[in-house]
Symmetry: C2
């Protein structure tokens, strides 16, 4: 009679005080695997963007956000969407304005706010890159069946929700 109890209350007597350190090895392994996958794919995409278009991944990501927002976005919005710090966006935008890919203007109605959008050049270049990028991604995931993809989507949605909940517990 094995005493296996996965993720349930402990059943032995005097249970409250026992404080058995639970086994979290599986979750740890899962996290490392998740990280490996992301690092692997991200590195591959980074390299291809550099070789093929001489552009960095963060610049591409920022342009991708703006491509979805024809009327532009504020720096804060971009920062939240990209999940990076405000200061990070400031520098990134500076360089992309410099290179002629972005247009930046102060909001008429709130002078704190900077609104940025893709220039014509920026949009054209992004579209070209995005078309190839999509193919790279498809190739990187090529061995997953449509069912695998659906299932992964579902489980990652659950993962995201779980992590957000955990983060919120700490930072209410």
């Amino acid at each position: 009679m094995p005493a296996e109890s996965e993720r349930t209350e402990m059943l032995d007597s005097e249970t409250k005080a026992v404080e058995t350190p639970e086994d979290h090895a599986d979750e740890l392994r899962l996290w490392l695997r998740l990280l490996t996958c992301t690092t692997l794919i991200e590195g591959e995409v980074r390299g291809r963007l550099r070789q093929r278009f001489d552009v960095t991944l963060p610049r591409f990501d920022l342009m991708a956000q703006l491509d979805k927002a024809p009327d532009g976005m504020t720096l804060s919005d971009v920062s939240k969407r990209m999940m990076v710090s405000n200061g990070n966006v400031t520098g990134l935008v500076e360089r992309l304005v410099e290179s002629g890919h972005l247009d930046r203007r102060t909001s008429e109605t709130d002078r704190r706010v900077q609104v940025i959008r893709l220039t014509k050049l920026g949009r054209a270049e992004f579209r070209k890159m995005a078309a190839e990028h999509e193919i790279w991604i498809a190739d990187l995931f090529a061995d997953l069946s449509p069912k695998d993809v659906r299932e992964l989507m579902r489980l990652l949605a659950k993962t995201k929700a779980s992590a957000q909940k955990s983060a919120a517990r700490r930072r209410p």
Copy 2:
């Protein structure tokens, strides 16, 4: 009669020249979700490490590698395991030697090679951090059932293999 053909050869006549751009939106969404999960969890872990132990995530990761190798590792080994550039490891190690967490020596048998290992201090501090870290991870994944965890492990293994294959196709 829907013309849906998921991930199969195209069946229309004159097929070779047609070059229909396939739809890769699902894979793209999957990649973005994967990236979101990783960024979310990584950011959370980074913040907790900083607040709780005043240590950076890369330092923690490097120590984690060394903790598994009591006899030490070469810089190349570390670099491969962590999937970061060589130069990156050089700097990271410099700072950790400086702070007394790492010991570095030139190999007796091959003077090109630097072997690094945790010092007593480094190991002790790492163990303390790792214990809490494991709990954080478990909490971040807390809403996944054991079955979810197994299933995610399986699908991510498949993903990793697929991505590696794709990367190898490009860089033979």
